[in-house]
Symmetry: C2
Subunit: 296 residues, 2 copies
C-alpha cells in the first residue's frame, strides 16, 4: 500500500464489464472510496453494478460520464479505445488523468501520438495482467488485481499521470511495472498472446483428429483437469476480443511464434536422434528455471 | 458404481508414490476394502502410508509383495515396468490379475508380447488420466481418480483381466475406455504429451528472453494465474519421468507435433496476410467445439 492520500475522488469507468466492473468493486473496497460513474451497453450489468454498490451512477454516454471526474478509466476492447477518446476529449477537466486497460499498446500509442496527444495530455495506459475467460460484471471480482502485475505505459504528461495511477494500482494490491509501448507488446506476446496461440492450435488440432474419428468411441469432451483441458481453457475467452488483441500485436506475436518454433525444432531433433538420456538432460535443463526465475 | 462384488480381496501396489498411493487410499475408501501390500524405496512414504491406513503391510521386495494376492498394480515409471515383471513373474498365483499405470503402451506391449506373455497371462494395462505435477504419497489423494478417464489396454487373458479391472476403476468413480496400445498412444500424444511439449518449449523460450535481458527490470517469476503460468505449471512434473514418457511415445508425439505445426502455419498465415475480420472468423470457428465436443 503506497503512502499519501488516494489521488482520485471521482472516477469514470467507461465499460463496466469484467475488468471495469472488477476495478469498480476494488475501488469501493478502499477505506475512503471514490465516487464512481459508469457506462455500459448492457442493462443487466448496470443493474448488478448498482445492486452491489460498485457504481454510484450510470451516465448515458461516455462524454457525459467524464464530466467533472479526476480519473477516466476506459475499459473497452483495445480496438474501440480511440473511438472513446474522441467521445470524451471535449468534456474533460484539465487536470483529469486518463487511462485504459488495453492489452496491446503499440497501435494505441501511435493513434495517441498522431491524433490525441494535445486533447488528452495526462495519459498513462494501464494493463493489469488479470482477467478471466468469462465476461461481464457478473464474473467480476473486487480482488481481481490483488497480487497481479499491472503494466504502466506513459503516453503523455508522464509525471502527472504515471504517479497517481501507480498509487491507484498499488492501493488495490497490484505490483506495477513501467514499460514502453514496444517492450510491453513484446512481453505480453510471450506471457499471454503466444499461450493463447498455442491453446487455439491445440484445440483445433484435437477437433480435427476427433472429426476424423481416428480413435472411435473416445470421448474427447470429458477429459478433466489434466494438461489438455488446462491449455484448452485458455482458448475460452471471447474469440472476437482475442482476434482484436492478436491482430493488433501481430508483429510481436509472429516473432514469438518463430522463436517458439525454434524450441520445438530443438526438442524434435532430440526426440528423433537423441537417446532417452539426452532427452532427460534437455528437459532437466529446460525446467530448472521453474520456481527460480519463472513461475510457478 | 458397477454391480457385483468387488473382484479383489488382496492387492499388491508396487510403488506407493503419487499414483500408487492414491490408488491405495481410494481402495481403502471402498465399503469393503481389500487388504493392501505395498512396496516403496522411500522410508517416509512407507511411514505415511501406514499412518493413513492406506497400506496394511510393506514388503521388502516386489517379489515378496505379490505372494498370495489376487491383483498386482505396478505403479513405477513406464521404463521400469518390465524389470518389475521379471521380479514378480515367479511368485504369482495362477489367477492373479496384473496391471500397471503406465502412460505409454506401445513399447510396453512389445516387451510383454515377446517376453512375458506366458509368465503374466492375465494382464490388462491401465492408464488413469489423473495425476499431479507433484510426486510421492504426501501429494496422493484418495479421490484422484474420481470422474477421470482410465484407459484399459488388454495385453493378455482379456476376459479374465479386463472385466475385473473395469469393475475396480468404476468402483473408484472413474470412466473406463478400452483401447489398443497404438490407439492409446495416439490419443495421449494429443491430450497429454503434446501439451507437455508445448509447455516445455514455452518455458525455455521465456527463460531465453529473460536471460537476454530483453525487457530490463521485468520480473518473469511473479506472473500469476494467467495463461503463462497455467501452461508453465504443466512442465513442473519430474523431467526424468517425462523424458521417459516422451521418449517411449516419440513416434506418435512427433506426428502430433507435425500436425500442430500445420495449425500454427494456418494461424500465422492469417495473422500475416488476413485482416482482423478473417482472424476473428478463424478463431470463432476454431473455438466453437469448446464445451460441445471438447472440454471445458
Amino acid at each position: 500500500m503506497p503512502s499519501g492520500a488516494f489521488p482520485f475522488r471521482k472516477v469514470a469507468i467507461l465499460g463496466t464489464g469484467l475488468m471495469g466492473g472488477s476495478l469498480a468493486g476494488a475501488l469501493k473496497g478502499l477505506p475512503d472510496p471514490p465516487k464512481i460513474v459508469g457506462t455500459t451497453l448492457l442493462p443487466e450489468d448496470r443493474k448488478l453494478a448498482m445492486e452491489r454498490g460498485w457504481v454510484d451512477l450510470f451516465a448515458d454516454t461516455n462524454g457525459a460520464a467524464v464530466s467533472g471526474v479526476d480519473l477516466v478509466v476506459i475499459a473497452v476492447p483495445p480496438g474501440a479505445v480511440p473511438q472513446v477518446w474522441g467521445e470524451i476529449a471535449g468534456n474533460l477537466l484539465p487536470e483529469a488523468v486518463v487511462t485504459d486497460l488495453s492489452s496491446v499498446k503499440g497501435a494505441l500509442y501511435e493513434a495517441y501520438r498522431t491524433k490525441f496527444h494535445t486533447l488528452l495530455p495526462l495519459y498513462t495506459s494501464s494493463h493489469p495482467m488479470a482477467g478471466s475467460e468469462r465476461t461481464g460484471i457478473s464474473s467480476a471480482r473486487a480482488t481481481l488485481f490483488s497480487d497481479r502485475t499491472v503494466f504502466l505505459t506513459p503516453f503523455g504528461g508522464e509525471e502527472d499521470s504515471l504517479l497517481p495511477l501507480d498509487h491507484l494500482w498499488k492501493a488495490l494490491g497490484a505490483k506495477t511495472f513501467r514499460v514502453s509501448p514496444s517492450d510491453h507488446d513484446g512481453i505480453v506476446a510471450h506471457i499471454s498472446h503466444l499461450p493463447h496461440v498455442l491453446s487455439y492450435c491445440l484445440l483445433t488440432l484435437a477437433e480435427q483428429v476427433r472429426r476424423e474419428n481416428r480413435y472411435p468411441g473416445f470421448d474427447w469432451k470429458t477429459q478433466k483437469g489434466g494438461s489438455f483441458s488446462d491449455i484448452l481453457r485458455i482458448a475460452r475467452s471471447s474469440p472476437q476480443l482475442w482476434a482484436d488483441i492478436l491482430f493488433q500485436n501481430r508483429r510481436a506475436i509472429l516473432e514469438a511464434m518463430d522463436s517458439f518454433d525454434h524450441q520445438m525444432e530443438l526438442l524434435r531433433e532430440t526426440l528423433e536422434n537423441g537417446g532417452s538420456e539426452n532427452l532427460s538432460r534437455l528437459l532437466s535443463e529446460w525446467t530448472a528455471p521453474l520456481s527460480e526465475t519463472l513461475p510457478p
